[in-house]
Amino acid sequence: MLGELLLMKGNEAVAEAAIRAGCRHFFGYPITPQNELPEYMARRLPEVGGVFVQAESEVAAINMVYGAAGAGARVMTSSSSPGISLKQEGISYLAASELPCLIVNMMRGGPGLGGIQPAQSDYFQATKGGGHGDYHLIVFGPESVQEMVDLTPLAFDLADRYRNPAMILGDGILGQMMEPVELSEMLDVQLPPKEWATTGRSGGRRHVVSSLYLDSSELEKLNKRLQDKYLEIMRTEQRWESLDVEGAEVVLVAYGTTARVVKSAMNLAREEGIRVGLIRPITLWPFPTKAFESLEDVGRFLVVEMSSGQMVEDVRLVVNGRWPVSFYGRTGGVVPDPKDILARIRELARGGGTR
């Protein structure tokens, strides 16, 4: 695709990518480290005939997204960890009402008010549902500003295709980092028809957006339909990057910012003659189980996260005891140092250490 190369902050780049993907409605509330995203939207959306609303809270913002998505718009919101927690009831309603939208979480360290430095400690919340009820978001974990920009239109498209909220799970570094990015041209995006949207009796019929099912068998039917959809998404939408996995003594598993640090650590390990590989999930949900399924000649796994160990649970599930899985994590906004990761790799390559 023809594009232009720009030097942009991650937060601003996602915003521009969303606009170029046809998003014209944004509802948000300020929180560090994602403020440049709504600020950019506030500047840019009116120029393209769109609407930016600074809501009174994250709760209101996500419910505005609900209304707008139900009215058929390509719509998004963004926040960071504590704000995403506040949105959870609304996200559950969006998933239950099968409304497409994009939610960006530039994670910061928690729990509680935590800090404003980058973290990956909302993995459970993002990939296991997050709010009440059985549901999933389609979750992407980009490792660079460019990838975040590339995944934005895909996230919108998949949200529409599956009528499901999608999430980009970034972190404070990805949001704040300046990188050169290639953006696609502003496309005249044709949104897929949304016959179900409440736009005022379109087609002469009444349309209702609701997640209320007082009859338990009806609610079970909804749940079954959602689960069928999730199975389909798990079958068709797994995305990941694999590097030198077969024959590796240590296969690292990491996503997002951490994957970049891990790549530096791997270079150091290779210099020492250690055979290392990497599986980098790009979709966090569906978790790329396929990346692990056909593996044969692998020594062991090392999962690295900026958390106390969340994605590692999904790795252990898929590895299912076939190989040892170790974990290394930093928390609170501390970014792992490649040298510390290298130390773990060395240890494991020598056959030592578990957790």
Binding site: F27, Y66, G90, S210
Partner: protein, 248 residues
Amino acid sequence: MKQVFKRPQALSDTVMHYCPGCTHGIVHRLVAEAIDELGILDRTIGVASVGCSVLAYEYFECDFQEAAHGRAPAVATGIKRVLPDRVVFTYQGDGDLASIGTAEIIHAATRGEKITVIFINNAIYGMTGGQMAPTTLLGQKTTTTPRGRLAEYHGQPIRICEMIKELDGAAYVTRVASNSPRNIAVAKRAIRKAFQVQLLGLGLSLVEVLSTCPTNWGLTPVESMKWLEEKMMPHYPLGEFKSPGEVK
């Protein structure tokens, strides 16, 4: 023979689930009549809230969204910002609007969202079985004020119209009642006017309707009408608190 009483087009023929003597049904009818008279059925989107009227979308013929508890004004904001030429209204109880959803109603009014809010004040939580609402009167017994509401212990009942009228984005704020033919006729005109205010893009319009909940008040329908008049009206005076000159 001339038909003098028929179902408004905007009302579906679904049997309503409301208790005998509950005025939710009356207010639904008034909203539907206003939609009919203004000819806006095909461009109106309602937002139902969480409370006894949660199933309102079953009873109207227009498009509807069902919002989370208290968030109807935010949902309505989302719809209206996407479809500015449509008519968007919320239908909310007093637990929904005056307790869990106070931030949403105040800020929708502050922003001057061009939406219409039908606010049912029945001084109690109906759906969850008769707990105290922010609008519960002093001395009123509910399941969570078993000895009656006490100012120093539970706080004073909240007057929403008096509060919303102070916000510049609110264009039309009025309190009506659903207890007598005369008051119902006034309520009808108020609801119609609230939609007209929206059609003219003047700002947020809010109609508070004093309503009954015989089931949780522990009164008969007839006693309820009397209670509404004798107890509620003195604390919640009827009348227009704010009205734009443009609409009669």
